[in-house]
Amino acid sequence: MLHIYCPHCAEYREEDEFHCAGQAHIARPLDPEACSDQEWGEYLFFRKNPRGLHHELWVHAAGCRKFFNMTRDTQSYEIKEVYKIGEQPSVVAE
């Protein structure tokens, strides 16, 4: 069970309080109508499944209810950093 630092609450809390909401940094296209079916399909369905560093969107569901980003190693489950929505990660996969 992960021990997660919520950047909004500024505290470590148990994983029970959080939900993972999938891959982070999937921006909704600003002009959806300009997207081809393929582009829209990629936005909708295609996600990374890396072995190693992964940027994920999490929500402190049973806490402050705020979303934030987490960079996590999918192999070791180490959390490299958490950062707020709109911020960019400082640890990135090579």
Partner: protein, 1005 residues
């Protein structure tokens, strides 16, 4: 009954407290301090089980968690039955009742054993896969036979009377194991001021020190243990957990400990006492001081009762005062094996021989044996034992220096006990739980913990350090390191003085050769519990299983309740040899939680019965219960399903409830609908982005129905949203979808459109909702309010802030039944009072409470969808014939717009929601039925769609159904067929889903 194997003195048992226990219906005596296993050995019980596959007699081999054979059924009563108890870990208590779990009619005279003898060659590895696969239809029969024969215990048929719970813990240093290394680490960490938890699976701390005659500071080791435990218990921040197995090591230093609080006292926990407890520990640092398990050697007939491991022999003698036999032969690859012979001789019984597989070994223990005059046979091995229910003799032969071949002649020696040691395997299970791969060490002849990302330290036996002095030093070092890591100063600890014995190098040997090839020699067992032999592993390798994980699965090695603690390394060694690889090349399977089996009660804790899942009740729940309502679970909510009156069938109740609504007035508790309060200057804009229809012009005081779609264009929720003020709305969602919708709104606001000023708050529980519906609903409302609720003053799709039954209410004039309806929302605290006044005032109109089932029928008569029943994530608004609820004029590309315009969503022949009228009006098509065009056509028939909602409509006097048909909206009047499982076919005509009042006049009066 005499305890013929009990010594008159010595050991950590209390001879002044005799205890009586029952094994297989017979009474025996033991002492306080015994385990069930030590008491059985004291009484000379040789056979404790029949083996899994061959039904061979089996005896006690070990003295701890690694015991494969003495796995018993416990319990004096049906309710207190506990399967899979290792006798070696069960403390004896007075009145304990135990039984072996297999063998028919008993373990001593077993019929299956005959099959084992003659059928051995008929049961090769993969036997079950090869034999019981065909015909598939018989698998259920096979399975129950296999289970019965396999003897894996049975669950109680009555409710467990005991209570279990769980506790969360936090600490600086979690120490696993309270042997010399763990105790030294704990003492250091405690003196340094750390918050410490130390857990050990045994009833008392001390680990290996409890089993030995070693001296610390010139005194028995137990005295040092007692002093350390006494000092540790003086610290407020140190928690000592005996009888507590650390069963799982999870990510981020989260550990689960299974504490057995009363299993040593009685069958049932004392009143107001928790039987077992799970500690959920989050530790800053972890010290694993889990020690090592001794490996037996693999030789012919090595499963005959009387074959044990050397460490267990020493433990039974030194700790329990039990000598498990009379004439001992030791076979060892290392110096530690000699200790059993020394202890046996000290106990006054005969050591027949020490057979050392090494040609020459000079260490302090070998010298001690030599000085005692014990018969040491070097460069040799016990290649086979004789006997069935007890060893009677052993065959000893010379070994080649590599240990791969028998050389020279075979000598028979008379003996009843064979203790073997193939060295020790560090207990690395916990270090593997977090994904760390173990690393083979040639010098240790075993796997050591591999690199890890956990904040983990190791000390003592787990590192392959088996000398007490080294273990103590490593424990102290780990304690100091942990102190430094958590920011505390080093502690002042002086370790006791221990004599370090000289140890000669061990021999790397696992499988003792026989004069015959392995395939023809008597069975050489690798895993006792699953009856896996060396020959079986060789066959598996020959049949092409090369990866150790596959060998494991094919042979079932390590699949028992002991998870191969004793046999796995030997099995890997046999596989490595067969594959002509080294052990590190072959690799190891890894370990997963739990380390030892744990009771379901402990897993569940308090989360059972009424506490299994929270139940949500509305403010009027008590009233529904009093009326005898039947309830339906909707998410966690308990909703009235229907209200049966005396003597009514369910259908009769539904008919009565439906007719009451259509003819006069009914009342529904709609409190469970999700309600989300939305405020902010951009609230209206936000609604337009998350709903498919338009919201820009919704005036204050008005309500509007909306469809919510995903980015793929598919409908996932719906509901009515009311405009309370220019910047203030309240949204309703489906009962089951409320939490998801709430998170949906938040994720879009927080991650996509943070620039919009809008705030969401869930207010579902703040409000109680009583829906009154039917032609007389206005008259009823008028009785409880002074407000003018006439059609001129309170229009359809309006909401009003008025006073109802003396309390402030938000009343929505919206309708889910097609009748004139008012949804009366009041503060939840007033809910029951308002409800009761409505009931009282409604009596003269025959006001009838109705439940969710009637609600479903009434809405289906009107063709209204239920999100989640008539939608399944694959239908967009146009598929539902709800294009009227889509606005393509909105400037912002709302969620779902692009998705529902994908080419696949706009193609012809999509499945569309239509009404279905059966040819026989009495027939109700089962929900889920598949539609075809020609039931007599060539198979497979092409499925045209399915029924999503289907009911008997008492209002209309015929059945009604809604369902999907390919291109259905263009097929009005056409016929489709629904073939049933019984061969009959239901014929139905495609029609509009609006069966009742198609012009919608009734709700508008």
């Amino acid at each position: 009954m005499t305890q013929q194997n009990r010594l008159t003195s010595g050991g950590r048992i209390d001879r002044s407290t005799p205890l009586t226990f029952t094994y297989n219906g017979k009474q025996y005596k033991g002492f306080k301090g015994d385990t069930l296993a030590s008491a059985m050995l004291a009484n000379g019980i040789d056979v404790v089980a029949r083996s899994f596959k061959y039904s061979r007699p089996r005896g006690i081999v070990a003295c701890g968690a690694e015991e494969p054979n003495a796995v018993l059924q416990l319990g004096a009563t049906e309710a207190t039955q506990v399967p899979n108890v290792r006798a070696t870990q069960q403390e004896l208590f007075d009145g304990l009742v135990s039984a072996s779990t297999n063998g028919w009619p008993s373990v001593d005279t077993d019929v299956m054993g005959m099959i084992g003898k003659v059928g051995g060659n008929m049961m090769p590895p993969g036997f079950y896969y090869k034999t019981f696969m065909f015909p598939e239809s018989l698998w259920d029969t096979y399975e129950s036979m296999i289970r019965k024969a396999a003897g894996i215990g049975r669950a109680p048929r009555e409710r467990d009377p005991d209570t279990y719970d769980a506790v969360n813990q936090h600490c600086d240093v979690m120490i696993v194991g309270a042997g010399p290394a763990g105790l030294a680490a704990a003492l250091t960490a405690a003196r340094g001021g750390a918050r410490v938890i130390i857990a050990d699976e045994q009833n008392e701390f001390g680990g290996s020190l409890l089993n030995s005659t070693e001296q610390l500071d010139g005194k028995p080791a137990a005295e040092w243990v007692r002093a350390v435990v006494e000092e540790l218990s003086t610290f407020d921040d140190v928690m000592l957990l005996p009888r507590s197995t650390v069963n799982g090591y999870h990510d981020h230093n989260f550990l689960t400990i299974h504490e057995r609080r009363t299993d040593h006292l009685a069958d049932i926990a004392p009143v107001n006492t928790v039987r077992q407890r799970i500690h959920r520990v989050r530790a800053k640092w972890v010290v694993l001081a889990t020690g090592a398990h001794e490996r037996p050697l693999v030789y012919a007939n090595n499963d005959v009762p009387g074959c044990m491991i050397t460490g267990a022999v020493s433990a039974y003698i030194n700790r329990y005062g039990v000598v498990p036999g009379n004439e001992l032969v030791v076979m060892t690859t290392n110096d530690y094996g000699y200790q059993a012979a020394l202890d046996w001789a000290d106990a006054g019984r005969k050591v027949v021989a020490i057979v050392d597989t090494r040609e020459a070994a000079v260490g302090d223990r070998t010298e001690a044996a030599r000085q005692r005059g014990l018969n040491i046979i070097s460069g040799s091995a016990v290649i086979e034992v004789q006997g069935t229910k007890r060893v009677t003799s052993v065959s000893v032969a010379g070994l080649s220096s590599s240990g791969t071949k028998v050389i020279g002649s075979v000598t028979k020696l008379k003996a009843d006990t064979v203790a073997t040691s193939g060295g020790w395997s560090p207990v690395i299970h916990l270090s593997c739980h977090t994904g760390s791969r173990p690393v083979w060490s040639d010098s240790v002849v075993g796997f050591l913990p591999g690199p890890t990302v956990q904040k983990q330290l190791t000390a003592g036996g787990i590192n392959g350090q088996y000398e007490t002095a080294t273990a103590l030093q490593e424990g102290l070092d780990a304690g100091q390191k942990a102190l430094a890591e958590v920011g505390l100063a080093a502690a002042d600890v002086v370790l006791p003085d221990v004599k370090t014995l000289k140890v000669a190098a061990p021999m790397s040997l696992f499988h003792i050769p026989h004069i015959k090839p392995t395939s023809q020699a008597p069975k050489q067992f690798v895993d006792y519990q699953t009856d896996v032999t060396a020959a079986g592993i060789e066959i598996a390798c020959r049949e092409g299983f090369e990866a150790i994980e596959h060998v494991k699965r094919y042979t079932a090695m390590g699949f028992g309740t002991d998870q191969g603690k004793l046999g796995n390394i030997n099995g890997m060694a046999v596989a490595a040899k067969a594959l002509n690889k080294s052990i590190p090349e072959t690799g190891t399977t890894v370990f997963r939680p739990n380390y030892t089996p744990i009771a379901f009660g402990a897993v569940i804790g308090r989360n059972c019965g009424a506490l299994f899942e929270p139940e949500r009740y509305t403010a009027m729940h008590k009233w529904h219960v009093e009326q005898g309502a039947m309830f339906e679970d909707v998410g966690q909510w308990k909703r009235p399903w229907y209200y049966p009156q005396k003597g009514e069938s369910m259908q009769q109740s539904l008919n009565r409830e439906c007719m009451a609504v259509r003819n006069s007035v009914g009342i529904l508790d709609a409190s469970t609908l999700g309600k989300i309060d939305i405020q902010g200057k951009d609230a209206r804009e936000f609604l337009g982005r998350v709903y498919s229809n338009a919201w820009a012009k919704l005036a204050i005081g008005k309500c509007r129905y909306g469809l919510m779609c995903g980015e793929d264009g598919m409908v996932f929720d719906d509901g009515v949203t009311a405009c309370l003020g220019e910047n203030h709305f309240v949204m309703t969602t489906t009962t089951g979808g409320a939490a998801h919708v709430y998170e949906w709104l938040e994720i879009y606001h927080q991650t996509e459109w943070p620039e919009l000023e809008v705030y969401f708050n869930t207010v579902t529980d703040h409000w109680s909702t009583a829906t009154i519906t039917g032609p007389n609903s206005r008259k009823l409302l008028e009785e409880l309010t002074d407000f003018d609720v006439s059609n001129d003053n309170f229009r359809y799709m309006d909401w009003k802030q008025i006073t109802v039954a003396g309390v402030p209410a938000r009343v929505f004039r919206i309708s889910f039944t097609g009748e004139l309806s008012f949804e009366i929302n009041v503060q939840a605290n007033y809910g029951m009072a308002v409800w009761e006044q409505l009931i009282e005032a409604g009596a003269k109109y025959g006001l009838t409470p109705y439940g969710t089932e009637t609600m479903h029928i009434l809405r289906a008569e009107k063709g209204f969808i239920i999100a989640g029943q008539d939608t399944d994530g694959s239908v967009h608004p146009y598929d539902l014939g709800m294009g009227w609820c889509v606005s393509n004029q909105k400037p912002f590309s709302y969620i779902g717009k692009r998705g529902m315009n994908r080419s696949d969503c706009t193609r012809a022949n999509r499945k569309q929601l239509v009404g279905l009228k059966t040819k026989d009006p009495k027939q109700v098509i089962p929900e889920g039925s598949a539609a075809v065009l020609d039931p007599k056509g060539p198979k497979p028939l092409e499925i045209q769609g399915h029924i999503s909602s289907s009911y008997w409509s008492e209002t209309l006097g015929h059945s009604i159904a809604m369902g999907f048909i390919k291109g259905g909206l263009d097929k009005m009047g056409e016929t489709v067929y629904y073939p049933m499982a019984d061969g009959t076919v239901i014929e139905a005509e495609i029609c509009s889903p609006i069966f009742f009042d198609p012009k919608g006049e009734r709700q508008n009066v």
